[in-house]
């Protein structure tokens, strides 16, 4: 049975961004329903629905709202529209095609949490999307959906769009709050969590665009409908993104729980690989969750999942739990990018490591230095001057970064560790092959190409090495 689109019901409808079209399709009925309930009842409903955050961490929204102190006076709602995780673009689709669904979600979340002001933190690169959303917001204000005494309910909510200026780390909830306050977007040490002390030192709720866009549907269609979709612990619909060299790149909605193979090859989804190529690997949920092996690897003979063995892993189910069995971080943003068979895995490693090294905000030493160090190693490997112990070095470095070993303020280095570690582990054979095929003087050649002066100066090879790639030398050696 084909699945009925809900979150994307208005995508492709002419004039879908206008209030009129949205209302004609039953828009803002969820809000009316919410106003008929007490705020606490809405929170309970969302808690029962087990709506898990779509922003990456998968934390249940109802539980998060429950952390707000009972005796609070002011609450802020921050909407995370900073979508910068490559290759995620589902929030963009929502904002571009159905901004009123987001606004209705904001109103419901605001009402449930007793927020008085909602800030939509939108990444600075969203230009067209900003104009669309601002227009929708103006329209909603005019129709009395924002401002004072909304629809005669006595509830007041102001909503503003706050534009960022290009920084991935501002998607992290406390980085977002810092940026909103007019500072560098450097995440804060937690606790206190934003629910206790967030924006302007007041209790704050931070939710992703898609999380909020689910709310109207939970209210109008009811809990039973919601709980009938998805897998055991992951309920509801999800907007899956697929990009890279597939036939139909784009965003497709499905109940949580499709497999990566379906997402790539399904006729309703990616529609197969371009030019009939095979899949070397796929990042199934944004870069930060890590990589899965593609179908150039043999299928596991016994059907057992074991990421240590080199088998095809495309049967991974994209819900909040299954990716963990494959050594991944989780569902992430459920945005897949496919690496075709003919791409050099060293280029992929270089691209991924550069991203994190560029986006680290620089507060924590191991994140700032670690991401950069791995990037330099990746550059060395990619330029044909790799050494096989570089792979072990990367593996070791990834053990010593991130929130999980308790070494950093935010989750960015964890997001860096998973793709880098899984790339090196799962494609080690290919890296080794490239390294074995290097000519003996590759190192010297590369150094010479990058820094000709290195050979004209009377320095030993070791020092030149330290110059180009690396930090491999003992400190004494580098002086």
């Amino acid at each position: 049975m084909p699945y009925e689109r809900v979150l994307m019901q208005n995508v492709g409808v002419p004039n879908s961004t206008s209030l009129q079209v949205y209302k004609a399709a039953g828009g803002y009925q969820g809000l009316v329903k919410a106003f008929g309930m007490k705020p606490g009842e809405v929170v309970d409903l969302v808690r029962q629905s087990n709506l898990r955050g779509r922003g990456g961490a998968g934390f249940p929204a109802g539980v998060k709202w429950g952390f707000l102190p009972i005796d609070r006076e002011i609450t802020y709602l921050c909407v995370n529209a900073d979508e910068s995780e490559p290759p995620t673009f589902c929030n963009r689709i929502t904002i571009e095609h159905d901004p009123h669904m987001l606004l209705e979600g904001i109103l419901i979340a605001g009402y449930a949490t007793g927020s008085t002001v909602a800030y939509i933190y939108m990444r600075g690169e969203f230009m067209e999307q900003f104009h669309v959303l601002q227009k929708a917001l103006d329209e909603a204000y005019q129709a009395g959906y924002f401002g004072k005494n909304i629809l005669g309910s006595g509830y007041d909510l102001e909503c503003y769009i706050h534009r960022g200026a290009g920084a991935y780390v501002c998607g992290e909830e406390t980085g977002l709050i810092e940026s909103l306050e007019g500072k560098r977007g450097q995440p804060r040490i937690k606790p206190p969590f934003p629910a206790i002390e967030g924006a302007f030192h007041k209790p704050t709720v931070v939710n992703n665009v898609e999380t909020l866009a689910c709310l109207p549907h939970i209210l109008t269609r009811g809990l039973d409908w919601w709980l009938s979709l998805g897998t055991e612990a992951s309920k509801g619909p999800k907007m899956y993104c697929i990009s890279g060299p597939v036939n139909r790149p784009g965003c497709y909605e499905a109940p949580l729980g499709i497999t990566v193979r379906e997402l790539i090859y399904g006729d309703d989804f990616g529609g197969g690989m371009r030019d009939g190529k095979k899949v070397k690997g796929v990042f199934p949920g944004g870069l930060s969750v890590g990589v899965l092996r593609g179908d150039i690897f043999p299928k596991p003979p016994d059907g057992q999942v074991d990421p240590a063995k080199g088998y095809d892993e495309l049967d991974c189910i994209l819900d909040f739990d299954d990716p963990r069995h494959y050594g991944l971080l989780g569902l992430g943003t459920a945005a897949a990018v496919v690496i075709p068979e003919d791409v050099d895995i060293r280029d992929v490693l270089l691209n991924v490591t550069r991203f994190y090294s560029h986006e680290s905000c620089g507060q924590c030493t191991q994140c700032r230095e670690g991401t950069n160090w791995i990037y330099r190693i990746a550059r060395r490997i990619q330029s044909g001057a790799g050494r096989s112990y570089d792979l072990d070095l990367i593996a070791e470095l990834t053990e010593n970064m991130g929130m999980m070993p308790g070494l950093s303020i935010c989750g960015l280095p964890d997001g860096a560790v998973y793709p880098i570690r899984t790339l090196v582990q799962k494609f080690r054979a290919e890296f080794e092959r490239h390294i074995a095929a290097q000519t003996p003087d590759a190192v010297a050649k590369t150094i010479k190409a990058i820094n000709p002066a290195a050979y004209e100066l009377p320095i030993q090879e070791g020092r030149a090495l330290a110059h180009v790639g690396g930090s491999m030398q003992e400190i004494g050696d580098r002086l």
Binding site: G182, V337, F355
Partner: protein, 190 residues
């Protein structure tokens, strides 16, 4: 950029660049009621300043500091953190090419190389006629249309190398065809 130390008490007048117009200051003030603190109007203020002057000049930073009642160093602190703010003049149109994985797999590298050759500049440079500046950015969230690039406000999708001549010669290649909101724009100069 190499390190440059600026002592704002002794910096030469001409290095300060232009300051904010009275209208721009007024516009920045309209953001104050949105937030409980004046400082929170920092990013909107910088967007407006950058739109008016073309970049965030030292004098504009000083003006903003005065408006928001923070030290000038706090403004510079913010300007240098975000990749979209420029501390020196830029071309009339800024071309931002996505360099993240999806776009790279779809040929983003070739597009960037061709652009560099056509414009005769490298990344972070501006053409001598001041028309274009070229930068790269991580994922622009249009990965389904890779490789993509932005020219000021306009996102160009599925760009192929052979499209570049057509795109570059189009005088309206940075205009979007939709109702715009001018909230974050510089006030209209009349």
């Amino acid at each position: 950029m190499s390190w440059e130390t600026i002592d704002r008490t002794t910096v030469a007048e001409e290095k300060l660049g232009p300051g904010l117009s009275a209208a721009a200051r007024e516009k920045i003030r309209t953001f104050f009621p949105r937030y409980p603190s004046k400082r929170a109007a920092m990013l909107p203020a910088l967007h407006i300043a950058q739109d008016e002057i073309g970049y965030c000049s030292l004098r504009a930073m000083r003006d903003i500091a005065e408006l928001l009642e923070v030290p000038p160093s706090a403004v510079m602190d913010v300007v240098t953190f975000y990749t979209q703010f420029w501390t020196h003049p830029r071309g009339k149109k800024v071309i931002t090419v996505c360099r993240s994985l999806s776009c790279e797999l779809m040929g983003g590298k070739e597009v960037l190389a061709a652009l560099k050759e056509k414009l005769g500049i490298d990344e972070h440079q501006t053409t001598p006629d001041g028309k274009y500046s070229l930068v790269t950015e991580e994922c622009l969230a249009s990965c389904d249309h890779g490789p993509c690039m932005q020219i000021n406000e306009k996102t160009h999708k599925c760009v192929r190398v052979e499209d570049l001549d057509r795109i570059l010669s189009d005088p309206d290649n940075d205009k979007i065809s939709m109702p715009r909101s001018d909230i974050f724009d510089a006030p209209q100069k009349t």
